[in-house]
């Protein structure tokens, strides 16, 4: 059962870590100083959250495993983040669309995780909810702003939503670890809030004068460790220090 709990924690933690790394790439490259700082802030929130999860996971693993080992020394196939969060920052509309599609999900997930029978997970969720509420406020503001902006900004946001939509079905897939943890009262049954997710996303997109895509085909695999080609590059950046200088500390 411990093995399932460990995997379940990674399923949540990896999303925060990988998305945090993606946003962190923008540090010094944001469209304006203010937005640069905002994105980096969100990135740091996500790193902080992933750290709490990895500390817990490392404790479960035992054998003097550290949070760094869990976060930074796995191979690509051992990361179980959603495909959505590893997608690159193609332009600012893309970055905000990705953030928005994840934030809506993230807050719904944490609101359920807060009720988990696992007190550590419940506590991390409780602490993270306030941060993620702000992330959602920020990203949905930008979806509306660009959607309601000029023809160019509208098209860029619509293109971003269309391009990322194919990754949204995976948010509601369940692994064996997920199912085992739901049965224990520890994990969150994500299928329960799929309707709320779609409703909330549609509400913001409509307000942004954007169309809700009507895909029939969706990408999947991230939760099984089968990733898009982008994750490898991200990990080579993320893991560089620990791989080059093993066991280094700040």
């Amino acid at each position: 059962m411990k093995e399932y709990l460990y995997k379940y924690i990674l399923g949540i933690a990896d999303n925060s870590l990988i998305l945090g790394q993606r946003l962190g790439e923008l540090c010094g490259h944001g469209p304006s100083l203010e937005i640069d700082i905002a994105c980096t802030n969100i990135s740091l929130d996500l790193f902080g959250q992933s750290r709490s999860y990895y500390q817990y996971a490392a404790k479960l693993k035992g054998n003097e495993t550290t949070e760094d080992d869990v976060a930074l020394l796995r191979t690509e196939r051992e990361y179980v983040n959603l495909l959505l969060v590893e997608q690159p920052n193609r332009n600012f509309a893309h970055t905000m669309a990705r953030q928005f599609l994840f934030d809506v999900y993230h807050i719904l997930l944490l609101q359920e995780l807060e009720k988990s029978h696992d007190l550590t997970l419940a506590a991390i969720a409780k602490k993270s909810i306030k941060e993620v509420s702000y992330h959602l406020r920020f990203s949905s503001d930008w979806v509306k702003r660009l959607g309601n902006g000029t023809d160019v900004s509208h098209d860029k946001m619509q293109n971003a939503i269309d391009a990322l939509w194919t990754y949204t079905d995976e948010l509601f897939h369940q692994t064996d670890a997920d199912k085992a943890m739901i049965a224990e009262g520890v994990g969150v049954d994500v299928t329960k809030f799929k309707d709320s997710y779609e409703q909330k996303v549609a509400e913001i997109l409509t307000e942004a004068t954007l169309k809700v895509p009507e895909n029939k085909w969706f990408q999947k695999g991230g939760k099984q460790g089968i990733h898009t080609e982008h994750l490898g590059y991200l990990l080579s950046d993320l893991q560089y220090m620990q791989r080059t200088y093993p066991n280094m500390e700040w």
Partner: protein, 94 residues
């Protein structure tokens, strides 16, 4: 893009009971964005409990050229300061 964004002045209240103080300025497209930007730029190290933003163009400022007539007449009127009283120690923040 930034060329089109107006400048905003940011005022932050660092604790309940204290007044809002000028923290700096930033660029934003509108008041809502200015507020969010101010939150990220000026309060991310737990500096505040309340934020005001005012578009810089809405502030009427004194002209430094007029400093002579504006401020200098007050310089030799020490009796306008309450420095001739002994304050009890219990009175703080004076």
């Amino acid at each position: 893009m930034k060329k089109n964004w107006p400048l905003w002045e940011v005022f932050v209240r660092s604790k309940n009971g204290l007044e809002h103080r000028h923290f700096g300025s930033l660029h934003a497209a509108d008041a809502e964005m200015a507020l969010e930007n101010a939150r990220d730029v000026y309060t991310r190290r737990n500096e505040g409990v309340s934020i005001w933003v005012v578009e810089s163009k809405d502030i009427t400022a004194s002209n430094p050229e007029n400093n002579g007539e504006f401020f200098e007449p007050a310089q030799d009127k020490v009796y306008r300061h309450p420095t001739f009283y002994d304050l009890p120690d219990e009175v703080k923040h004076m």
